[in-house]
Symmetry: C2
Subunit: 462 residues, 2 copies
Amino acid sequence: MYNLVKYNILQNNLINQGDNVLIGFSGGPDSVFLFHNLRLLKETLSFNLYASHINHMYRGEDADHDEDFVRALCIQYGVKLFVKRKNATEYANELHVTEEEAGRILRYNFFRDNLKSIGGGKIAVAHNLNDQAETVLQRIIRGTGIDGLGAMSLVKDDIIRPILNVKRSVIEKYLKENRYEFCTDKTNTQAIYGRNKIRLNLIPYLEKEFNPNIQNTLFRMSEIMDKDSKIIEKYINIKYQDILLKENENEIFFDLYKLKNMEDYEVGRIVRKAIELLKGHANNIEMKHIEYANEFIRNGKTGKKIDLSEGLIVEISYNNLVIRKNIEKVEHFEYNIKVDLPLHIREIGKTIVCEILESSDYVFNNKKSFSIDYDKIIGNLVARNRISGDNIIPCGMTGRKKLKDIFIDMKVPAEKRDKTLIIADESNIIWVEGYRIHNNYKVSSSTRKILKVTIMEEKDEQ
Amino acid sequence: MYNLVKYNILQNNLINQGDNVLIGFSGGPDSVFLFHNLRLLKETLSFNLYASHINHMYRGEDADHDEDFVRALCIQYGVKLFVKRKNATEYANELHVTEEEAGRILRYNFFRDNLKSIGGGKIAVAHNLNDQAETVLQRIIRGTGIDGLGAMSLVKDDIIRPILNVKRSVIEKYLKENRYEFCTDKTNTQAIYGRNKIRLNLIPYLEKEFNPNIQNTLFRMSEIMDKDSKIIEKYINIKYQDILLKENENEIFFDLYKLKNMEDYEVGRIVRKAIELLKGHANNIEMKHIEYANEFIRNGKTGKKIDLSEGLIVEISYNNLVIRKNIEKVEHFEYNIKVDLPLHIREIGKTIVCEILESSDYVFNNKKSFSIDYDKIIGNLVARNRISGDNIIPCGMTGRKKLKDIFIDMKVPAEKRDKTLIIADESNIIWVEGYRIHNNYKVSSSTRKILKVTIMEEKDEQ
């Protein structure tokens, strides 16, 4: 096997004897390179190798060819393979995210499902040095901090990247010398948006005009940044403990006096850490929230509180600064809806208005209103929040989808799920707030009467 | 005056009442903008404003025009102006550095001289937001770490940058609206090398193809990095004190056991800090030295030592790790040189051989040998180290230059100056090791006999 890969794995304990290792196996050169290296290492370091392939179905016959290729290799080397077929373009539209992002969600969800079925383990992905350099450059262009510049790591949580410091050219040479076949992803060679544009236009330009070794230079920088961000994490952990009075899963109490004696940039990092701990992730933390909190800490008075973001509150209470989840428990509710009679739902502060329209008055659905075929409604119409077992056939699809999975896909946080409004009849969920209507209720050419439902928030009504 | 500049200065205490402030005044739009803002602020915040202009003489008439322009403005507003004329191209050749670097050395040396003459103060330079973005981009391309990405600061030591967060376009608009004239630097609009290529080619390309706000994005990143690098510095200072046993200007003792229990990246930063403290600056510290020291700390045995770089030694002594300057004091020496009789100088471990050649045997000077016109030698030839008042007319120049200034220009560290070999006759220094020969002794068409001097190091003789 290739020495550097072996060194990476053994030196950093990426894989230990007896581990389950699931390789993300697209069939492209990088994953084929990783596959062969892992199956060779398996001969000396005893571990269990599995593979996971997603057929994204967006390249027609190519996609099936890739699946067949991966399947053949796995059979040849006795590696159990998991396969999922899912069109990433459709999924992207469903989730309202980019195709790149949809593909990522699909892959990692599938990986975790596979891991669960084999009793846990590690996911091995085939990012290489060039991918890392591209990631760094992309983040610089979009704007980033030290954590972003650290980019991808050899190991993070249950994900390992054994070939992260191997150059693409080295991979290609190795595959050629060993006569290992691989599939070519044609979408990689079209310079349209994002990553491809960086890979195919920007990097060659920088190599030609500024630094022929730019990819190595960027990779080196990401290594240094990764280390430096660990130093920052250590420092912030020390300071966090130093000012912490008490904490539980819903609230964190800091010593306000000590906080005020810290520099802005230290306070910022500590507030960020607190938000992360309470929310369980660092998504959607914006600089403005941090600056807002910083300003409040400097100048706020006891008894005052501010809304930070997404259900977090910062409060000053004498010498305590408290950051807490804004938990208002929403009980189960269910109300009958009557046409033309506004229904106010106090639990979520929203009002529903239903009206019957001629089919010629149809307007497209938007965030605040939707239309359905009135004659398809079965029995009473109700407004309620979720109950166990809820599911829907989403508009444009044929199969049922669990509400729970919709929440996961849409990244609806746990505390918001009981606040999500659902319109249902006696047989089906007809509409889920922020999502879409049931396929069977959609307005069609045969629709005679339309029921238009409008949802108003309290602030809309004023 | 422009509000943001006022805010920068007052909020960050860049200038306090009674300060001496020396503005680097090229006459270009940025420095004119800074000049007017400072002279306006002076009306309310009482401080002393001075200006410093270097006429680089490389743009012919333009350069004199700029000097006249700056002089006129200073007279108009009653600001004392210092002017120096020096050709940066020549100076660059002299110092064997780029013209950009030569310009920088010239400017800051002149600034410091001016400051000395007015009894100290601050240097105000006119870097703007775009300069900062370009600096960040240039460093990314060359390779850098977090300190490099932090780039320039509003204040560092005695340098202040009051317009660092002001965009070039804002500066131009302000100058136009107030009808302030300025000079145009034509060298700024030629996209040839380095900075200009980044400003005129790369940034417009990134703006067009990737991010129209790339300059703001890069500026934001540098601000974040500047703060993060301060966190790292704080952490390393804490850890440094934690493992420090004792220190003086020549050596630093660490607790080896504690060092071994730290992560590689922490050890690396601490070794870097120790080197910086002993040398007084961070120049020329390379990654390989840090890695070498790290490896030694992990695996070295007591009594072992390694040469780190530029006169530093790392040594293990039981549970101490010692980093020390390698100081071998060299006393004054002076030896007569005889033709054809090798002279060994034990103080510096070098041997000199002189031979007389026909002028037709002339070869170019190099690091280990040089040739002079034999008949120009006045009296005895000696090999010695420096004495107070040494000076030379460097080959290619007409004026005398102090040896002390040569050492400064060539960045010869203090501990190496007594080890630098000098060849002299009874009237002049003829040659300085690592520099060049005296102008009057050079071989010319009228030379009849050549004296060729060859210097061998101990390792060469084996």
